[in-house]
């Protein structure tokens, strides 16, 4: 399904901002909010996982229904999950396209990666656990 994805702040994301490696932060930033009708179209329910793919990458997220959003639109808290599918081109303004990202959404059984895993994919090295 083609959707327009935007990212932004949420209270849970903000509350865990000092604990980026916690389960709470991971959960708060890896939920994909979608209209219930779109979930129906995908044949999934809240809590199911989806693969979200843009021109810049692909990431596994947990879908959640909300009527606050219009169909064919999706919303995600800002954070490393959103950034896994955000491009670095800024139209020479300095600001990447964190909003209005064209994405393809499909159901999946794959697990949501941890923040450390996302960092390792791009060449980072986890500290501690």
């Amino acid at each position: 399904m083609r959707c327009t994805l935007s990212s932004g702040r949420t209270v849970p994301q903000g509350s865990f901002v000092e604990h980026k490696l916690s389960k709470g932060y991971q959960k708060a930033t890896s939920i994909l909010y979608m209209h219930p009708l779109d979930l129906m179209d995908l044949g999934i329910e809240s809590g199911d996982r989806v693969r979200v793919t843009s021109d810049y990458g692909s990431v596994i997220l947990t879908a959640e229904a909300t009527e606050d959003i219009q169909t064919n639109n999706a919303y995600i808290a800002l954070g490393p999950y959103a950034n896994a599918i955000t491009g670095g081109y800024t139209h020479a303004t300095g600001m990447p396209d964190y909003k209005d990202i064209a994405v393809e959404i499909e159901p999946t059984d794959e697990p949501v990666p941890t923040v450390w895993e996302l960092m390792e994919i791009i060449g980072g090295v986890r500290y501690g656990n």
């Binding site: 327009t4 935007s6 932004g8 702040r9 949420t10 209270v11 903000g14 509350s15 865990f16 901002v17 000092e18 604990h19 980026k20 490696l21 930033t29 810049y56 990458g57 009527e67 606050d68 959003i69 219009q70 639109n73 919303y75 800002l78 954070g79 490393p80 950034n83 896994a84 599918i85 955000t86 491009g87 670095g88 081109y89 800024t90 139209h91 020479a92 303004t93 300095g94 600001m95 990447p96 396209d97 964190y98 909003k99 209005d100 923040v115 450390w116 996302l118 960092m119 390792e120 791009i122 060449g123 980072g124 090295v125 986890r126 500290y127 501690g128």
Partner: protein
Amino acid sequence: MEIRDVPCPFCGCLCDDISVRLDDNRILGVENCCTLGNAKFLSKGRLQHPIMRKNGKWVEVSYEEAIDETARILSDAVRPLLYGWSGTVGEAQVVGVHLGEEIGALIDSTTSVCHNPSILAIQEVGHPGCTLGQVKNRADLVIYWGCNPIEAHPRHMSRYTTYADGYFIDNTVTDRKVIVVDIRRSEGAKVADEFIQIKPGGDYLVLSALRAMVRGRDDVVPDSVAGVKKEQLQRVASLMQKAKFGAVFFGLGITMSRGKYKNVRNAIELVSELNRKTKFTISAMRGHFNVYGFNEVLTWMAGYPFAVDFSRGIAFYNPGETTVIDLLERKEPDACLVIASDPGAHFPKSTIEHMAAIPTVQIDPCVNATTALCQVQIPVAITGIEAAGTAYRMDGVPIRMKKIIETNFPTDQEILERIVTRIREMKRDG
């Protein structure tokens, strides 16, 4: 023990009425704070020692070794980047700017990925603004455009707008109208008198239509603009003109969406136009508690609010060229110092890939996503709790952050000063 009137080191609201209960140098409880601030004051867990990556493994090192390594990395670099700054105080930012000058670095802050477009717009058309107390005491119309105060600035409405007592406002709930403009029905939209839902990317077009209407040129506007009916726009244009004091607050909904600074510019020009009819102000909902402070500091020291390139010995500024995302995307920096921010969590993948590929040092109290990208991390005192200094509220009001807890961790300023000193020694010794 209770310490009153503590400024909160979380968001740009910089609420300075927090009461903190302490016992034995530990925070037991916090009053007046929102969920976000609360979480920060009560946060536990931090990096205890400087760490460094040796042979692919993290090892604990002394402050001296970590600072030495940082100084070496920065001195060797041809295109060093100093990034972050918004989560620390002006006194540390000043040292950062001098460091940038000293080593011919690029210096940029988190502004680059939040309200950079607002600044670009202000640089084109100016900024009719005010301090938040003007809104609190006078505004009978408040417009939140592309921002979500309930989630991002939870006390904004109760301290400064909708629910705040005001000198010229008899009943704050009935005497103030609230308009929310967003692409989704946010929490704020639910308490608004009027909600305008725009198609993603359509803010600019709606703003142009409102400007034409305020000028009395409804005739040129089509029946529907970016998903908004013309009738609703006319109703809103009329509400705006009837207000005695209107205040627009805008957020990342318009700075990050298509058009970027042009959206903000259009919003500012709408407000300037409205000032011909009545009183109107516009303000950015700044994120980090001191994101505005870095803009102020860099401006008085180098002339520009962010994204300055010192490589040619003068200050050069050109967002899109000297901004952090563009630099990393083009793989220009060959070393990076990150302080008081977490690009690992907030930058697009391709850009942090480059950060992981070059020597990167982070100065931060906590282990965060950026830790994984670094060669060195130096833990410091938590600014606003363990270290004092100046922060600038979203409206430009400077407030002194307090130190309420004693700590053995050095401050950002101390670490930066030691790095500068070490770099000077290295230069002197050739």
